[in-house]
Symmetry: C2
Subunit: 407 residues, 2 copies
């Protein structure tokens, strides 16, 4: 398996586009479309929030009940959440406009929205946008990039990835794009992520692979602890790679799962590193935990701690906050036994051992913490399980962005 340049248009048969539809923002791209030349098997995971945006409800229906999916239409700026019956009607109208322009049926069109909650969509603009998108679809890398840019809200960079692997003697490609960057605590977020692939796989196994992998990737990301009303991760597989259909958990399935994991993990880290206002990707890796579930709880507790996040912003090795966050994670352990290291491209340093601070240099620790990617490495010494979670630092800009988001 190798990483290649590209995004949602990397796999065979996929086209994309991004345009300025004027949904809420002016003078920036705010609608995207992904389209497969042939019908796809679709899998999806969605927010666990009880308050689900209208497009989440629409897409769940398409993924579970439709025979096939062939297109995704996305708008940024307005989330179409808490919008009642009108919100559902606008989903259907957007899907229908796309379907008409593409010559397919509305129930094969997935619809996603991200942005402010509670505002109604300007439906005429959505319909016009869907039509415009259908007319400018391309299979180029540039078209994928336009789509990735159009789904951004407070993101500062667009997020794409693509990998290739060999399955059954055929080259299989997976491409993805996603957006963050606030209300990110997927418990699958205003997170949207899209993976396209030309693999030939049964719908059941596609969903199973996605549902399993998301537990170790997107669900291990948190920017602010807020699980959005709109979180959606969709995978479209059109089978154009020509491999024999994957219908059981064999070596081909494993190869696909490995490639899917690479795509999901890369997208997850991009979301965390570009969290609202963030200056650093903050990773916590827990090893030698007694159970996988506990490893996850511990890792997630650290990356969601506001105090720890603020210390990372300050490049301050305030490790007591990390110990504190481990302690309130809900996991039972003996603080005397664990070891804590701080790690980045500047080095790795033992910080805490035998229940007390190790003899470390604050100056060196600050150097480690001044890198754009910082890891807290926790050795629980209890068992054989591990987990990694990804977050970001808490900065003035997070407050600025969110004290003034709607205006």
């Amino acid at each position: 398996m190798e990483f290649i340049t590209g995004g949602v248009t990397a796999a065979k048969g996929f086209l994309a586009a991004g345009v300025e539809a004027g949904v809420k923002y002016q003078n920036r791209k705010d609608m995207a479309m992904v389209y497969s030349e042939t019908p796809c098997r679709a899998a999806g995971v969605f927010t666990s929030n009880v308050v689900k945006a209208a497009p989440v409800l629409w897409d769940k229906n398409v993924v579970t009940k439709s025979g096939a999916a062939q297109a995704v239409v996305v708008n940024s700026g307005i989330a179409n959440a808490c919008t009642g019956k009108l919100g559902m009607e606008y989903c259907e109208k957007t899907a229908q406009a796309a379907a008409d322009a593409l010559g397919i049926t509305a129930d094969s069109v997935l619809v996603c929205s991200t942005g402010v909650i509670g505002m109604q969509l300007p439906i005429e603009k959505l319909e016009a946008g869907a039509k415009e998108l259908a007319g400018v679809l391309e299979s180029t890398l540039e078209a994928g990039t336009l789509a990735a840019e159009a789904i951004m809200t407070t993101d500062t960079v667009s997020k794409q990835v693509a990998v290739q692997t060999q399955i059954g003697g055929k080259t299989v490609t997976l491409g993805g794009m996603c957006k963050g960057s606030g209300m990110i605590h997927p418990n699958m977020c205003t997170m949207l992520a899209f993976v396209t692939t030309d693999v030939n796989i049964s719908k059941e196994l596609l969903q199973e692979a996605l549902s399993a992998d998301v537990q170790d990737t997107f669900n291990m990301v948190s920017v602010d602890g807020d699980t959005s009303t709109n979180d959606t991760l969709l995978v479209l597989a059109n089978g154009q790679a020509g491999n024999a259909e994957i219908v059981e958990k064999n070596a081909d399935y494993d190869a696909f799962l490995q490639a899917l994991h690479a795509v999901n993990e890369t997208l997850s880290k991009k979301i965390a590193g570009d969290g609202e206002g963030a200056t650093a990707l903050f990773e916590t890796k827990v090893v030698h935990a007694d159970t996988k579930e506990n490893a996850k709880k511990l890792a997630k507790s650290v990356i969601t701690s506001s105090l720890t996040k603020a210390a990372i912003f300050g490049h301050d090795a305030n490790w007591g906050r990390i110990l504190c966050a481990l302690g309130y994670s809900g996991v039972q352990f003996d603080p005397e036994k664990i070891e804590l290291y701080l790690e980045s491209s500047a080095g790795k340093m033992l910080i805490f051992q035998d229940g007390v601070a190790a003899d470390y240099s604050e100056e060196e620790a600050t150097k480690i913490l001044s890198c754009p990617e910082v890891t807290a490495f926790v050795d629980m010494k209890m068992g054989g399980e591990e987990a990694t979670a990804w977050g970001c630092d808490l900065t003035y800009d997070y407050v600025k962005i969110n004290a003034d988001y709607r205006s």
Copy 2:
């Protein structure tokens, strides 16, 4: 029952003091003592964090095993958490120094610390401070205020309360002081709270009253979602009011519980309103929930939402974030049925109803949100249970304080 002026010295027989011991801070009071002329029955609730500070372990032992408690010694600046065996030894030395100066035994001295985690206490300064404190104890209101000031860390104001009630024909007084203001998400925090009372009550009922009331008061407060290693709430009752001992749950017990609740709720709100960097107390009241537990989960989810807290700081009626936080609380409900109001001294306004935004004025909403105490009022329309939680807004100053706390 009525509120009176005062704090930990309000009840009969209690003395207090606060001095500059130079533990970590310079030129500010950083050690306090509370002392009862006669032995007290003590009750306490402590952090649920697995990583417990040394004084938490010390105090648990005193509360559960000692015959009586008679003094509390507190230092700010250093938390004596993650300090290993030496940390425990320093607790004992501090208690012993206080006991020697007061002519009591070390096992009747409670010890509390708050401040940075992982640093060892300068024990000679603690011992000298304990001795100095014992020499300047007074029963005046001013002495109580000195003690309340000495326990502050990033708090901007000292926090005291006192109430009087009639029990069995006698005037019973309760006084309290506490400190926040970061790492505040008590699950019985770097929260410390002390209540002194002259009520005559059995030790069992004192602990039962405290454990019950804390669920609706301190445990409903969150500044940043971080449950500290040091959270401690202690109640000392010396019986000097002269009421017949409360040994069963009768009208006397109810009167005491009501007074204790008033003290605990007042202290809880003071902690929330003075959260690190906060400009506003943010209260969420949930009514007509199906169960008490669900009412609490809903209320707490809203006041801990970073996005909602940032919106409160921005005086922005971004109610979608409140709906979102209710939705990921873990409680099942129908978003179409609930009603959301925003309320403050500037008025009360319906914001959300029937699954969509109510027809409200953004200008008026901003006026409501510009007050120093703001309430989100949520009517679940599901049952008869309610709960209130207290937090604060998320501001630039929270980040500033915590990116740079140790330096």
